[in-house]
């Protein structure tokens, strides 16, 4: 199945659904790792929207990216509760690793057991510098 067919299959799966753009973009992001210019064009055509409208939605939300990034992602929470539990010192001490994308998120809802991070659907709490470093290293 080509990318084009796969995209059309995703669009087909959401046919007739009200307010379908976000669910479609989630599926496209999951399938291809990003929402490409070509995908935007095709989605706009099928949903009878302008490309600008679809681009506007893709660029608005933090979860959608317009360029692929194959690196594994560590989502590190740096909101107030994790700050109060020392995440800033952890983040400052974390060695740069070009093979892992350490992203900042504002709140994983693990505020009582922070500092917290998420990799895929796996959650990690009570992180210290060593555990966070080991987590990043294990993905590289």
């Amino acid at each position: 199945m080509t990318d084009h067919d796969e995209l059309d299959a995703i669009l087909q799966g959401h046919a007739g659904r009200e307010g379908a753009l976000l669910p479609i973009l989630h599926d496209v992001q999951a399938a291809f790792g990003h929402v490409s210019e070509d995908s935007v064009r095709r989605i706009a055509q099928v949903l009878n929207l302008t490309r600008a409208e679809v681009h506007g939605v893709v660029s608005f939300y933090h979860d959608f990216r317009d360029e692929p990034d194959a690196r594994p992602v560590v989502k590190l929470c740096r909101a107030e509760s994790c700050q109060a539990r020392g995440v800033e010192a952890l983040a400052a001490a974390l060695p740069e690793n070009p093979r892992v994308n350490v992203e900042t998120v504002y709140c994983l809802g693990l505020c009582s057991v922070g500092p917290a991070a998420m990799v895929g659907h796996e959650v990690y709490g009570r992180l210290d510098a060593a555990r966070l470093g080991a987590l990043v290293e294990s993905l590289a």
């Binding site: 989502k75 107030e80 709140c107 009582s112 990690y124």
Partner: protein
């Protein structure tokens, strides 16, 4: 065979609950995965015959089973953290398996929906109105009035929208409901649908909560025979904090940019797809089954002033006993932080408590007498918001926290209104200058001869602080929604209570010395 109950709530998983559960299973125990008691500092917490053990690692399993563990905490229900609470919404927490219809029905599940159907729509709304239930998302708008507006709105198509975009730091009660007692939320939505005449409900969950999304989807499929013809669907957000604002959430559900809408029209009259819509927070809808099953009057008996019933309060940040505390309104901030929360985890003195998430004020220990109540906090220039408490010890730099509030607003602003979009960025720059204590000379544009009204004299630290207060005033009254409108709360409260962190001399302290 020994039955061991261990939570599968994300907070427990983050602390290694799966490994502990596997170790108990390997030792020959029957392991039941239940919801969390909300005693997060003890996670992973194991319960055997009512007795609790935690926080456990797989290495502790042998000593727990041998009865020699030093991590025994006695009977969980009698623990002082739990014993003081009044659990209505979280009555099942720690006791039932989240996706077991049998457990749900055996603990009073569906009784509220059954009674609502017997009462009919009007009497159902009357119960909710009588309960005094106010929106738990932060605004505190009476749920009964909102439902009445939607019920009276004309039109064949109406919606129930559950706001589960719980983005505030220090809040996790919505997540605990969705992961620990999803049927209760679904029942609450079905009651709302019955009351206002809506056939379809959406739960808008943030993408940072994959465990909640999975549980809800499974629970909805299981609940179909109980709630039919009402339908519920989960929609997943995409990492935009501002989508927790109800009108921007509606735009996002419609597949648009999550930009805030101007009100009026109220969502109750023109909401999702332009149709009358109830938008309620998870905790609001989750409180409804209890109210219908036990009566609005019973709910209203608990509480303080115009804040009736219980509030699931979340203790987070630098606190010894972090977790979920459901208790009647009126408990004081100091009781929450010290008596229930046990003070800071670091053992240092408390410097500040932020109440209500990133848009809530920072309160000094001098505010600890404040009763938890919408009006009392509003009078103290704060808000209770979604009732999350973040405790900071004396190492906190409050001007840095003020800067973070502005930078958070800049990162998450939807961009629709100017005070929020531009004001937050200027606010970060301004606080950076204040923190650097540099002051500022007139810039290139201000220095131009044609800028007759521009200030030519350099700005001192005092001038910059005045400017920050002025900027906060503009954001507070000029923004379309709470993101820009409430960001001044953390900034101004930090400035007011900890001026020394902004380089301002405190006359009172000098006089005392």
């Amino acid at each position: 065979m020994i039955t061991v109950r261990i939570s599968d709530d994300a907070a427990a998983l983050a602390c290694g609950a799966n490994a502990v559960a596997a170790a108990f299973a390997a030792a020959g125990c029957t392991v039941e995965r239940v919801s969390s008691w909300g005693m997060h500092w003890l996670e992973p917490l194991a319960e055997i015959g009512g007795e609790g053990f935690g926080p456990l690692t797989p290495d502790d399993v042998a000593s727990v089973l041998a009865g020699t563990s030093d991590k025994a905490i006695g009977r969980i229900a009698d623990h002082r953290f739990i014993a003081r609470q009044q659990r209505f919404t979280f009555a099942r927490a720690g006791k039932t398996r989240p996706l077991s219809l049998d457990d749900y029905a055996a603990t009073g599940g569906w009784a509220g929906l059954k009674r609502a159907r017997e009462l009919g729509p009007e009497a159902t709304i009357a119960e909710v109105t009588q309960s005094g239930l106010r929106g738990r998302g932060g605004a505190g708008f009476p749920a009964g009035i909102k439902w009445t507006t939607v019920a009276k709105a004309s039109g064949p198509v109406k919606y129930i929208v559950c706001n589960a975009d719980e983005g505030d730091s220090a809040t996790f009660a919505d997540r605990m409901v969705m992961e620990g007692d999803p049927f209760m939320l679904i029942e609450g939505m079905a009651i709302a649908g019955h009351a206002v005449g809506a056939g379809k409900g959406y739960i808008y969950v943030r993408s940072e909560y994959p465990h909640a999304i999975a549980k809800l989807n499974t629970a909805i499929a299981l609940a179909v025979p109980h709630i039919a013809p009402f339908e519920v669907e989960v929609r997943v957000g995409a990492g935009a904090y501002v989508c927790g604002e109800e009108t921007s959430l509606l735009n996002s559900l419609e597949g648009k940019r999550g930009e805030v809408r101007a009100k009026p029209p109220l969502p109750a009259l023109e909401g999702l797809f332009g149709k009358p819509t109830v938008v309620n927070n998870v905790l609001t809808l989750a409180a409804v089954p209890w109210i219908l099953a036990n009566g609005g009057a019973a709910y209203a008996e608990v509480g303080f002033g115009r804040s009736r019933g219980t509030m699931p309060i979340q203790l987070a940040g630098n606190i010894q006993h972090g977790g979920l505390v459901e208790i009647g309104f009126g408990v004081t901030l100091g009781e929450l932080v010290f008596d229930i929360g046990g003070g800071t985890a670091s053992g240092r003195p408390v410097r500040a408590v932020q109440v209500g998430g990133p848009l809530g004020a920072y309160h000094p220990p001098a505010d600890f007498h404040l009763p938890f109540d919408y009006e009392a906090f509003s009078d103290a220039n704060g808000l209770i918001g979604h009732a999350g408490l973040t405790v900071f010890d004396e190492t906190a730099d409050m001007s840095a926290q003020a800067r973070f509030a502005m930078s958070f607003c800049a990162a998450e602003s939807c961009g629709k209104c100017t005070p929020c979009r531009i004001g937050s960025t200027r606010g970060v720059e301004l606080i950076d200058r204040i923190r650097a204590r540099t002051g500022r000379a007139a810039d290139k544009v201000e220095a131009l001869p044609q800028m007759h009204n521009a200030r030519k004299a350099p700005r001192t630290l005092g001038d910059e602080i005045e400017l920050l207060e002025d900027l906060c005033e503009t954001m507070k009254f000029g923004s379309l929604c709470a993101l820009g409108g409430f960001t001044p709360y953390p900034v101004l409260s930090a400035l007011k209570h900890w001026p020394e962190d902004f380089g301002v001399a405190v006359p009172g302290q000098e006089a005392a010395e």
